[in-house]
Symmetry: C2
Subunit: 385 residues, 2 copies
């Protein structure tokens, strides 16, 4: 087993791309990453995506995108793990390079969600939950998160407005991200007044439906200095699972899969949460941010909202999160999200995050979650400079 580096990144702006198809978005990100890396060969393409079949009428994305991107012939498959598909694809690519089965691997995440009516998108997203018990009962993902949030507030005596800092921070950081869907600030007052979606989850607790694609190029760390600029080492990449249905959890407010994934990642990297300089959290909903922060050991059980209230999650805080806007404000094209998180951590570790740069960032972590925590992918990256 050898060390693996990220030597190129590419991404499209997140938003409603009515003029671009899924394969065009994916190709834009892939060619951007290849150009950034300046590699001359690609051995394989792993593309994370959840909903291409349901929302764009297209499967077989591996062959489709490798063909369109000029990579015809390479090994190419689609990797699906609901909203965790992006980072899951990174894990598959990491395994191939770490295990010496491939040298140059492109990993992409791509999703196109805005071409269909919103009720169809809501139903499609519910395919990440347990179809026989949750989706069948009419539970959408907002509803599942509302259950979690309500229970969390009750159990730990937390007020709804205590979640506001996560939305405010994400939007603040998106202002300086040219790829963000919502590059404008929101206030605590906006959060309080936001339209209710599924009580207690309101509009500003929730990430948007959107289109986007992001990609990276991997190669063996020992070759990394020959390509791109300021390579970043993958210190850990771990997928773990939990029960798919909430009612099967031992503890509704503990994401055991996320905790397992983080614990294994820390072990793989031989470090702990105190060593992490920034964290891209899976803020599909504010409650998911809080549960992920707790699962990863950044906060005690029931105390996740304090990190926001005490200002620790801002760029200058002790644990900057959603540094380029997160799922909330950069946007959440579901199968692409995990790759956006990775691309953004790389930007931070390269010192290319502009006004959002976390000072002296050397170790960055991302946790990408599928469903209500049924899949959790934790990635730890380190600057090689």
């Amino acid at each position: 087993m050898r060390d693996v580096a990220i030597v190129g990144i590419g991404q499209t702006k997140v938003g409603e791309h009515w003029e671009k198809s899924l394969k065009e978005l994916a190709t834009e990100a892939i060619l951007g990453a290849i150009k950034d890396a300046q590699v001359e060969r690609v051995d394989s393409l792993y593309i994370g995506n959840m909903l291409s079949g349901e929302l764009t009428g297209q499967e077989h994305l591996g062959a489709l995108v490798s063909d369109f991107a000029g990579l015809r012939g390479v090994e190419a498959v689609k990797i699906e793990a609901a909203c965790g598909s992006g980072a899951a694809a990174l894990r598959i690519g990491y395994v191939a390079v770490a295990g010496e089965l491939a040298d140059f691997v492109v990993v992409a995440g791509a999703e196109k969600m805005t071409d269909r009516p919103s009720e169809q998108v809501t139903a499609a997203l519910a395919m990440a939950a347990d179809g026989d018990f949750e989706a069948q009962s009419g539970m959408s993902f907002v509803a599942l998160n509302a259950l979690l949030m309500r229970r969390y507030m009750y159990e730990f005596g937390v007020r709804h407005q205590d979640f506001a800092p996560f939305a405010v921070n994400a939007h603040q950081n998106a202002v300086n991200n040219p790829y963000a869907m919502f590059p404008f600030p929101v206030t605590v007052e906006d959060f309080r007044k936001a339209k209710m979606i599924a009580d207690p989850v309101n509009l500003l607790d929730s990430s948007p439906v959107c289109d986007g694609a992001a990609a990276v190029v991997l190669c063996p760390a020992e070759m990394a200095r020959r390509f791109g600029e300021r390579p970043v080492r993958i210190r850990a990449s771990v997928i773990a699972t939990d029960t798919i249905a909430l009612h099967d959890r031992r503890d509704l407010l503990a994401l055991e899969g996320a905790a397992l994934s983080a614990a294994k990642a820390y072990q793989q990297a031989s470090l702990g949460p105190q060593d992490i300089d920034l964290f891209e959290v899976h803020d599909a909903f504010t409650i998911m941010s809080v549960l992920s922060l707790e699962a990863c050991g950044f906060a005690e059980r029931g105390c996740g909202t304090r990190l926001g209230l005490e200002g620790e999650i801002a760029i200058g805080g002790s644990l900057p999160i959603t540094t380029m806007g997160g799922l909330k404000a950069r946007g959440h094209p579901v199968g692409a999200t995990g790759m956006y998180q990775i691309v953004e951590v790389v930007e931070q570790l390269r010192g290319q995050a502009g006004k959002n740069q976390v000072a002296d960032a050397r170790l960055g972590m991302a946790q990408n979650i599928g469903g209500s925590g049924a899949t959790a992918v934790t990635t730890i990256l380190e600057s090689m400079d």
Copy 2:
């Protein structure tokens, strides 16, 4: 990189399983493989599937199935490469074990297609083709294969009835396979009189819509003798791609992706087509068998039908194919097919193929194809006895 062995196999009968859900089928195959292998630990689960979202309203199969099968916590993702999903998942599992990133990996393929109206299944299958050009124009997969077959007949002066031996052989072999969907023989006369589907493709040129799941357990070859019985070594596992749309091919009658995949597999295993004792071909349509046989070097261009006409493809012939019934008669639950092929090759190499046993079989090969050849996965297995 280390050698990888298959130490357990499991499969469900192929057919219309109105009483079993997709996760139940997958779990039946997975638990069968684990029991056969007698392993006590599983590190990860890779599940090949194409249409769970479109036809069963369920994505996130990795987490769903690992949970249901009692493997909660393991790394688990779905691998999609159209009808090549099954063997593509095997490749991903192979990479993990060969590269020393995992020791005990379960690879499954599962598909449930019979719960929806046939026009919806036809449309869903067309998602394996180029949506913008082929599916959009109303081309179903039968239609795409009809184009190939018509052109092949014209180009090489081959008659339609020359394809009959592939259907006859597949059905003959299915008679002795307890897991086959169509365990009955058909004659050349039946083939001639079969209902036309899309001229010149008739019913007996075509594989059926059905449900099924198959699975294997992988472990390092050096540990293989501790588990299961008569382990089989993976000598090669290669995915290659081609253009997704037929109109982009340099040569309509040469499956370049399949040829590339086979050439790389022979290179990886340091052997050639003459060394192969049996071949599980992707006979989704008889024309696809012929093109795959030619791409793999078992027949010259334009001569693939001769292997059938001369009896070489029968159990006692020089190159037995579809030895347990193939896609035609065992059945073609699309995302599971690649894993059925692997399970059947293992049965042959273990000497467990009963009346269909290929004498002294030591080296078996399978080629699993996605779309009209856009993805091709070639696997070469060898008995370790």
